[in-house]
Amino acid sequence: MDFNHTEERRMLADSLRRTLERGADWDALAELGVLGALFTEDEGGFGGAGFDIAVVFEELGRAGCTLPVLEVGLGAGLLADCGQDIEAVIAGASKPVLAHGEPGLRYDLGPITTRFENSAITGRKSVVAAADEADLMIVSAMADGAMRLFSVDPKGPGVSLHGTPALNGGTVAEVTLDAAPATLLGGDMAALETRLAAATLAVCADALGVMETVKAMTLDYLRTRTQFGVPIGKFQALQHRMADVAIEIEQARSAVINLAGNLHGPDRDRHVAACKALVSRVAHLVAEEAIQMHGGIAMTEEYALAPLSRRLIAAGHRFGDEDWHLQRFIRLSA
């Protein structure tokens, strides 16, 4: 039993943190090996374990980085599953993203109605993250009664994107496909679930990093903001709320560790559900408590807490919310 990260992972985390503090762009992250860390050697990377993913995304969250590492990592993983070479992605030269969700599905993975016929896809994909940055869209569609993945050129004919900013930073788009030319990649629901498990870990680790930053900001504020002649951190009502926040963040860290350690194990889905349900709950708590303890300033866009609060709330709405995962946990525990 050992709860320390390996030397390699600590070094990656440290250099990623420093790079992000300097304000890294996509090329800088790729050069640092951030994408490579998400994949195994067979896939062309140098990591791919649950703890590699956890370390990378905790730092991205800590820095509030809005670059689409998660979306591109998910897309590239699906490409690798279909036997595609992802070297260009790891090098930072290509950004594939997944378009799977559909209106009305909420968080369920199916049944989807988008269909593949005559070498083209027709249907609508909803809340597709980072679609406007993608050079390749991986679209799920029904073909001969089974879900398969197809590659679609997001700038090609029959594809229209309606983009909006996303609550967590970055963008999302509603994607309409009208006989858009598509090439079969392969894949199936089991492979998709495996990659989504890793993506869920990434969202949770990202939220954990955000929570650490929010905690530090709130503590700093409690020490410096004075009311009634004293720093507000001297008020027991706030101290005890902050103690509970700190305890729950440790619980979130443990949940992320549990999922990272079981990401490739037989009990994966139960840990995905447990981790996402817990982290969604705690992220929501931390966001609300941080806003309340800061007071009015936290309501302003100008103060740096605003995007982080939004990101914590958004984390609860990605890849299944607390209730969705709670129900899944119940089914898997029966």
Binding site: M1, D2, F3, N4, H5, T6, F51, L219, L222, R223, G233, K234, Q236, Q239, H240, M242, A243, D244, A246, I247, E250, Q251, A252, R253, S254, A255, I257, N258, A260, G261, N262, A274, A277, L278, L326, Q327, F329, I330, S333, A334
Partner: protein
């Protein structure tokens, strides 16, 4: 990162498991499972069995006859005992007084008292809390006045757990009323047979005689029963408190409690189906289980850190707060799960009633729920723990 036990740890766990299976009498385990109070004979029997194996005081230093178990080993042992419904090791002598004597006691005190703790000849109880000194322990008022070769002790201790079984009590007493609160306290060892001591039972909310008041009226205590130096007792008291830390999360109890709760929820019917299938109940249960899965890892992070040389300091306050809340939630849900069977009240020490008309699993569920309201109060209330977290970890 490695979330699994080492091969040595697993071998140790198997050894503990088979030892308990071979040595723990079924009737003790059954009564413990049912939440029935154990007798002094039950505890004495189990202590003696453990002592034969060298496991009663396994955390002691080797020079005092211990095994110097690692924090991970101790955690494994505690967990296996909880799973098997073994009696807990009564901590007052073995895990509380002994470390203080080993660190601060005289050679004579060590030679005399430590073997008697192991043999079971002495049953110690703890004279800390007073009616006016709960979480604010240093405000204690019991006085000890030096007269020749004796201290004369007057005052009252309370919440003295299992004091009815004890022949000895270690006490914090005020020896210098003029000094600052923490500086006028001494640590005294007192024979319960001394004239002037009276033990009065306190029946708790669950109808059980578990704790007592201990009254001292002109009790003569020989000066050689002072531990360490006069007026330095607070240092020893704090040392003692930091020594009972690794089990503070109660993960073993919680894990076993959750398993028992699931057994109840499978047996109880709701609209003709097992209660565990009811979506609202299942959601309550799942929330607790998910919290416990994380808590178990939070606990192991602290335990593993302790073996890595990081003394568990204020982190144990986090474990205590969250661990106690989870255990109380389990007890609360078990009480809900038995439905109307929570109402018939087994309360032999209160109303003399030992009869319960419901299924066996329901007999003491309400009692256990009530009894465990204590765990967020004792050992420094959860509010005191939050203040410790605030100062020591968050630096506010």
């Amino acid at each position: 990162m490695d979330l699994s036990y080492s091969a040595e740890d697993i071998a140790f766990r198997d050894e503990v498991r088979s030892f308990i299976a071979a040595n723990l009498p079924k009737d003790i385990a059954q009564r413990n499972t049912a939440g029935q109070p154990l007798t002094k004979a039950d505890f004495d029997f189990w202590h003696a069995k453990l002592n034969e194996k060298g496991w009663l005081a396994a955390t002691w230093p080797k020079k005092f006859g211990g095994q110097e178990w690692t924090a991970v080993q101790r955690h494994i042992f505690d967990e296996e005992c909880a799973f098997a419904h073994a009696p807990r090791i009564v901590p007052f002598g073995v895990n509380m007084l002994a470390p203080v004597l080993q660190a601060f006691g005289s050679k004579e005190q060590q030679d005399y008292y430590l073997p008697r703790i192991l043999s079971g000849e002495d049953w110690w109880c703890q004279g800390y809390s007073e009616p006016g000194a709960g979480s604010d322990l240093a405000s204690l008022k019991t006085r000890a006045v030096r007269e020749g070769d004796h201290y004369i002790v007057n005052g009252q201790k309370t919440w003295t757990t299992l004091g009815q079984f004890a022949n000895k009590i270690f006490c914090l007493v005020r020896t210098d009323p003029k000094a600052k609160q923490q500086e006028g306290i001494s640590f005294l060892l007192i024979d319960m047979d001394t004239p002037g001591i009276e033990v009065r039972p306190i029946i708790l909310i669950d109808g059980v005689h578990e704790v007592n008041e201990v009254w001292f009226t002109d009790v003569k205590v020989p000066v050689e029963n002072l531990v360490g130096q006069e007026n330095k007792g607070w240092t020893y008291a704090k040392y003692l408190l930091t020594h009972e830390r690794t089990g503070i999360a109660g993960v073993g109890y919680a894990t076993e409690g959750l398993a028992a709760l699931k057994r109840i929820a499978r047996a109880e019917l709701h609209h003709g189906r097992p209660l565990i299938e009811d979506p609202l109940f299942a959601a309550r249960l799942a929330r607790i289980e998910i919290d416990l899965m994380a808590m178990s890892t939070t606990n192991m992070r602290v335990v593993a850190g302790a073996d890595g040389g990081q003394a568990p300091g204020a982190e144990s306050s986090m474990l205590k707060v969250k661990g106690s809340i989870i255990r109380q939630q389990i007890n609360d849900l078990a009480r809900r799960a038995v439905g109307p069977w929570a109402v018939p009240f087994v309360s032999e020490d209160l109303a003399g009633n030992t009869y319960h008309p419901g299924p066996d699993y329901s007999n003491r569920v309400a009692n256990t729920y009530l009894n465990n309201r204590k765990i967020s109060i004792y050992g420094g209330s959860n509010e005191v723990q939050r203040s410790i977290i605030t100062k020591a970890i968050l630096g506010l």
